[in-house]
């Protein structure tokens, strides 16, 4: 009789939780400890020119494009001197470059109007990126870099 009573009592279903909790804690610790190197990083994206065709690497002088030249100032190989369309000189004033680009845009140039950033070989990377930045902020989308051709 006593045996029959024991059988009728509902038994609790308890899967072994210990290993599951162990694994979950391991995963939590793992993801907490991974150094997230991409935090705060972003990307400026563009396309390099197609170098596979018959005119690859040749200068295209017939295209009316905006040219941003980044020169090295005298006696300062870490600085920059900005020249827009061979005429306007801004020194290292990127705000002035942005205003000039926005002025060109306001005159009705389309967003896909080509913009060529042409740095001197010794120009520091950060100036090239900043010039790219200014062109993007001025809402130009067709931005290219000048590279030496062989």
């Amino acid at each position: 009789m006593a045996r029959a009573e024991r059988r009728e009592q509902p038994k609790k279903l308890q899967p072994p939780m210990t290993p599951m909790i162990d694994i979950v804690f391991l995963l939590i610790i793992f993801f907490l400890l991974i150094p997230n190197q991409q935090a705060g990083e972003g990307y400026l994206t563009t396309n390099l020119p197609d170098t596979s065709g018959p005119v690859a690497g040749k200068q295209q002088k017939d295209v009316q494009r905006i040219k941003i030249e980044l020169e090295l100032p005298d006696n300062d190989n870490r600085g920059v001197n900005i020249v827009l369309n061979d005429t306007q000189v801004f020194g290292s004033n990127f705000g002035g470059l942005l205003a000039a680009l926005q002025g060109l845009k306001a005159r009705g140039l389309p967003a896909d109007h080509p913009v060529l950033i042409s740095p001197w070989m010794g120009t520091r990377h950060k100036w090239v990126v900043r010039a790219f930045d200014m062109a993007v902020v001025a809402r130009f989308k067709n931005i290219h870099f000048g590279v030496p051709y062989d």
């Binding site: 599951m20 995963l27 197609d50 596979s52 120009t123 900043r130 870099f145 062989d150």
Partner: protein, 155 residues
Amino acid sequence: MAQAKRRGTGAVSMNMTPLIDIVFQLLIFFVLTAQFQQLEIEQVVLPMSIAAEPKDPFQYRNVIINVVKPDNPEVIVMGKPVAYLVIDGDNELSSLLKARKATILETGEKLNVILRADEMVPYEVVASVMLAAGRAEIQGWWITTDIEEPEDLLD
């Protein structure tokens, strides 16, 4: 009849072994892929940008090219320095990029080059990397930057 009663009151236990197996497999996978990603990335001082957009570089088929040591630049891919100087024909970098592109030709996916260059690296080195990418007929070009607020950048 007695047999039927025993079936109804028996304890039901979950089989934890395959669950734990799978969790361990996942753990090992994440550990290995995390280490693989670390191999591709070098510590550099990135330039600032207000127009850059955050993206997951590992979401696409990309080649990460690090340019370190501004005073004596080195180009590093997958943790190894590669020759990048412009010479006639292919250099080590363009050969590497061509090989990488060949591996995904069949899939039809687009391959991008992600440049992680120190902010003080001269443009000469970046241009050499561009030429190598051009020789490998890779057109997608991503420049890695630190994202900064507009008011900070134009100060």
